[in-house]
């Protein structure tokens, strides 16, 4: 196992200062459920010399509705997010996604921020945050910026987070009352497993049955996390009929192959993406 120094930051300001000084030499640890595995597998980058523990920072904990925007501080555990009444009421999908991560033991420690910045293909909360059009607040000692989550994932397991930055908050505007949402995770066994595919869909229709908004993200399908814009475009403004859902599913599969190419798993994932996209759309859309 690699060896590091360890330091518990007392304040966010202190943590940011250390990051400013040490940059790549620091690995942030909060819940620890991903980082400790990397430590065990000797998988941290060679430059890392210090584990900077920000799990004690109260200023990074809590969920609130602020000026109509849901704000989840980055150090909030997945369990707290899943149990939060505001999240359950306002997000439609985030509590389900948070609840799908690992086991209760893991959720009692792991954070949403950790789930995001680790950027694993199978991260469960990311598709939900993508369809919620979440914004990430990234802070450094000298700067604070807001990055839309669909600009955050820049490549396989790579994010826009700079070495001197901390993800401090995740914000999203709650979808309105017209929205319905669904989160579906495909696993090889019935519980506590990495997602083989993780779909999240939000949709809103007007009284006439026209699709006013449609947002789709599928984890473990693309080289890096993102939405499925061509599928969303296909159905926007349309009065949905059953065969269109099938078409949308097919387009989801084709989009996946267009963006990521044909891979060893495509023979399986292609039909499943098609099938599950159709299934999820049927759950959130009223079909004429």
């Amino acid at each position: 196992m690699q060896q590091f120094d360890y330091y518990r930051a007392g304040t966010l300001e202190e943590a940011l200062e250390i990051l400013k000084q040490e940059g790549e030499g620091v690995k942030l640890i909060c819940g620890g459920t991903d980082v400790l595995i990397d430590v065990r597998n000797n998988a941290l980058s060679e430059e890392v010399r210090l584990l900077l523990d920000i799990s004690g920072l109260e200023e990074l904990k809590g969920v609130e509705l602020r000026n109509g925007e849901m704000c989840i501080r980055a150090g909030t555990t997945l369990a707290a997010v899943a149990e939060d009444p505001l999240v359950r009421e306002k997000s439609l999908v985030l509590h389900t996604a948070a609840e799908a991560v690992g086991s209760q033991q893991i959720r009692n420690r792991g954070t949403v921020a950790g789930n995001i910045v680790t950027a694993a293909q199978c991260a469960d909360t990311v598709p939900a945050l993508l369809v919620l059009n979440a914004t990430l607040v990234l802070k450094s000692a000298t700067n604070s910026r807001r990055v839309p989550i669909n600009e955050f994932f820049t490549g396989p397991k790579t994010t826009a987070l700079k070495p001197d930055e901390v993800l401090t908050e995740i914000a999203f505007t709650p979808p309105g009352s017209k929205y319905r949402g669904v989160f579906e995770k495909l696993m090889r066994r019935e519980a506590v497993a990495k997602s083989r595919l993780g779909l999240c869909v939000l949709a809103a229709q007007n009284e006439a049955g026209e699709v006013e908004d449609l947002r789709i993200s599928i984890g473990s399908s693309l080289p890096s996390h993102g939405r499925f814009p061509t599928v969303e475009q296909m159905l926007k403004g349309i009065r949905v009929e059953a065969p269109m859902l099938r078409q949308a599913g097919i387009e989801a599969g084709e989009y996946m192959v267009r963006v990521g190419g044909t891979r060893w798993s495509t023979e399986y994932k292609l039909p499943v993406v098609q099938n599950l996209t159709e299934k999820c759309l049927r759950e959130v859309l009223e079909v004429q």
Binding site: L186, R188, R189, A191, K194, E267, Y268, P271, N275
Partner: protein, 766 residues
């Protein structure tokens, strides 16, 4: 017949320490001045070792020694061709090349990384078919080819040519199964202590077979057996996985302990355990069956190759059992079974609960379903017609005489059909399937017969010891081991029943090679069958002595003494009795009669000719039928096993709750095996090394079980208990594969039945 203790849900006598956290598993135990050892593992699946440089590792602060093959005192070669340390060649990715002893496990592992080994990589033979090719590289140079020695077994009965000639239809099918791991939650742990009194070593650990560890370590060290004492620690699950290859750890720690004169402890990481421990043999089973239009079977012929990996850990035994059972629970007039073991440069097969049965049952029960489908006969009907019945003869020539060996398959099949409402469900599911495309439902069946005990595999002996202490407490010790299956409790119940005492009086000592005669391994579900008979033997000896003491006290003949309701009394005069404690006072204290006895079970070798395969393969058989109901998601390939109706005949349930646990637990392991457990291997390297990638069943994967235990007038085993530890695993994969076919019309002939296979018909790999 009714008993006081046998047949009741007695609480386990080893549960208190487990629920309180007080139970000490080997990893929990520490000795003063102990060192920690770590093994240096191979970097390649197959390579020549050119040079080993331990210098840098030795220089590490806290490292006390680094040893290799040259440091092995007497013999570097152990059972099954295993080397303590690979010397000239590494033959698979988990071969140990050296070991480090250091003041902490972290230092030991860090230093192990610094041992420099120069290798010349060699091509690796990785698959059964490749290993069998004429010019294939030999995994073991001195062997003739890649067939594992003594692991080729055959069973011929009748004339299959005639059988096929008389068939209306012949089906030839090939089935394939994969390596899986026992994944006991407790990783292997060993502590070796230098023993100055024996001028040898004392070894503690998570050891399923203390006697074979003793023998192998003794030979490695060049010591007589009595100078190596092996004491079994509480084991956190084994299922066969800690049956032999822990001797590698034991040998490494023992030689270090002797060399350094300090205790040496080694606890494997999960990743190391995955590499170094045995797996369930992967199978390539080629079957041919002949059937008549009326549904009767005319012949079964099979050639089965079992992938043994780099070493011969159990292939010879497992393959023998496989050869006996390859034509399964059926009346087949002409049988030709050929089973072979194959070496490859991969992780190796060994003992895993079931020991050839889950693989063979998957192949055979799939084949039976395929044959039934070919004839347009319902699979249940097909089995009712062809299953073994009382008075039938097995392919070895053994008869299933109802008063000696009951054959209850028919009643088990009818029972599960009744409880599961087979006909009604079949119709309901057919209707459902006609109306739905996204999901399908199906109900399937599989049956099995399993020879109990070691049978012709070896001599089924076992030892036991009971001491009644002066104050009336009783201590028991078995030569076989407890690994969670409940053996100790079953033994205690037997003793309590025979001696007419309360369970609370009984404590147990852990298995210790220096205390009880070597009776062989705790395998083949014989903990109760053989171990229980030994305990029964010891108890009956003591009973006889106690009755004798009572006879003297009560002034009557021995035959007049009756034991009932904890009292020893004269048949005609129940008011005059001796209590158990009275007898101790009268017999031991006043007359000096020993109240300690050794028990031994030795049924003698089964009358079986190993050359012709004729005779009695096993003293008796146990039976099972499983009927699962599945829901298949056709969009994703996911199988959900919703309900399983089970029936097993096991002779007698000494403790019904424990029996239930063995069957549910075994079946669940079988479900993991059949549905999603998989070791990811590429080019001889192993990639799924821990619980995140190697998935085992969670609580949510448990189906709704409906189990009925059948008992019979068994003459084998204590109170007729024939054993139950393994049979649970056998039927899961097979019955679910059949239910999947019923649901979807898809016949999968390869395990596991994972998402990809169900959806697209084949597995995918990186």
């Amino acid at each position: 017949m009714s008993f006081n203790v046998v047949g009741t849900h007695s609480a386990r006598i080893d549960a208190y320490e487990k629920v309180t956290g007080r139970a000490k598993y080997c990893g929990d135990i520490n000795y003063g001045n102990q060192l920690y050892a770590a093994t240096v593992y191979s970097k390649y699946p197959h390579a020549r070792i050119l040079k080993i440089d331990t210098h840098e590792a030795e220089q590490c602060e806290g490292v006390v020694a680094v040893v290799t093959a040259k440091d092995v005192p007497a013999s570097n070669s152990m059972f099954g061709r295993f080397p303590v340390f690979a010397e000239e060649e590494v033959k698979y990715i988990g071969d140990g090349v050296a070991a480090v002893a250091a003041e902490s496990p972290e230092i030991a592992r860090r230093a192990a990384q610094l041992v420099e080994v120069e290798y010349k990589e060699l091509p690796a033979v990785l698959e059964i078919e490749k290993a069998l090719e004429k010019d294939a590289a030999k995994v073991h140079e001195d062997a003739e080819d890649n067939l594992i020695e003594n692991a080729s077994h055959k069973l011929y009965y009748g004339d299959v040519r005639r059988g096929f000639e008389s068939a209306d239809k012949i089906l030839a099918r090939s089935y394939r199964t994969h390596f899986v791991d026992q994944m006991y939650i407790e990783p292997e742990a060993i502590i070796a202590l230098p023993d100055p009194y024996r001028r040898g070593v004392e070894i503690h650990g998570s050891i399923q077979n203390p006697y074979s560890v003793r023998q192998n370590v003794a030979e490695v060290l060049g010591l007589k057996y009595s100078r190596v004492r092996v004491v079994q620690s509480t084991i956190g699950g084994s299922f066969g996985g800690k049956d032999e290859s822990v001797m590698l750890m034991a040998a490494r720690c023992a030689l270090l302990a002797l060399k350094l004169n300090r205790p040496v402890k080694m606890v494997l990481t999960r990743e190391e355990s995955m590499l170094e421990s045995p797996k369930r043999h992967a199978y390539l089973a080629q079957y041919k069956i002949g059937v008549k239009k009326d549904g009767s079977i005319t012949a079964v012929e099979d050639t089965i190759f079992t992938q043994g990996g780099a070493y011969n850990n159990k292939a010879m035994f497992a393959n023998w059992r496989g050869s006996i059972h390859a034509a399964g629970a059926y009346r087949v007039p002409h049988v030709k079974n050929d089973v072979y073991g194959v070496y490859t440069h991969t992780i190796f097969g060994g003992a895993y609960r079931g020991f050839s049965a889950p693989q063979i049952v998957f192949a055979l029960e799939s084949l039976m379903d395929e044959a039934a489908a070919e004839l347009n006969i319902d699979p249940v009907e097909f089995r009712l017609k062809n299953c073994l019945k009382p008075h039938d003869q097995l392919p070895t020539g053994q008869y299933l005489h109802p008063d000696k060996i009951p054959a209850n398959l028919e009643s088990l099949i009818l029972d599960v059909c009744r409880r599961a409402e087979y006909q009604r469900k079949k119709e309901e599911y057919d209707q459902f399937n006609a109306e739905h495309t996204d999901e399908k439902r199906g109900i399937g069946i599989a049956i099995t017969l399993r020879g109990t005990g070691l049978g012709g595999e070896g001599i089924d002996t076992a030892g036991a010891s009971i001491t009644i202490e002066p104050d009336g407490s009783v201590n028991i010790q078995s030569g076989l081991i407890e690994m969670g299956q409940g053996m100790r409790t079953a033994h205690a119940q037997i003793v309590a029943e025979v001696l007419g005492i309360e369970m609370e009086r009984i404590t147990f000592s852990t298995s210790d090679t220096s205390m009880v005669m070597d009776g062989g391994p705790t395998v083949a579900s014989r903990g109760t069958l053989a171990g229980g008979m030994a305990m029964l033997n010891a108890a009956e000896k003591l009973l006889s002595r106690l009755k004798d003491i009572a006879a003297v006290e009560l002034g009557c003949a021995l035959e007049d003494i009756t034991l009932d309701n904890h009292r020893y009394y004269k048949k005609e005069d129940p008011k005059k009795y001796c209590s158990f404690d009275d007898l101790i006072t009268k017999g031991y204290r006043e007359r000096g009669i020993s109240l300690s006895a050794q028990g031994w079970y030795n049924p003698g070798p089964e009358p079986l000719d190993h050359h012709t395969g004729r005779g009695n393969a096993y003293p008796s058989y146990i039976y099972g039928a499983a009927m699962p109901e599945v829901l298949v998601d056709m969009r994703t390939g996911k199988i959900k096993v919703e309900k399983v109706t089970l029936a097993y005949e096991i002779g007698r349930a000494i403790n019904p709750k424990i029996v239930e646990g063995q069957i549910y637990g075994g079946f669940l392991q079988g479900l993991g095996y059949g549905l999603f457990e998989e070791i990811e291997q590429r080019d001889g390297y192993v990639f799924s090394l821990n619980f995140d990638d190697y998935l085992v069943p969670t609580v949510k994967d448990v189906p709704d079980f409906d189990l009925k235990i059948f008992e019979s007038a068994s003459k084998v085993g204590p109170f007729g208990a024939k054993g139950v530890g393994e049979i649970g695993v056998e039927l899961a994969a097979a019955s679910v594969a059949n239910a999947l076919y019923a649901a979807t019309g898809k016949r999968l002939r390869e395990l596991p039945l994972n998402l990809e296979r169900v959806l697209i018909g084949r597995a995918l790999s990186k």
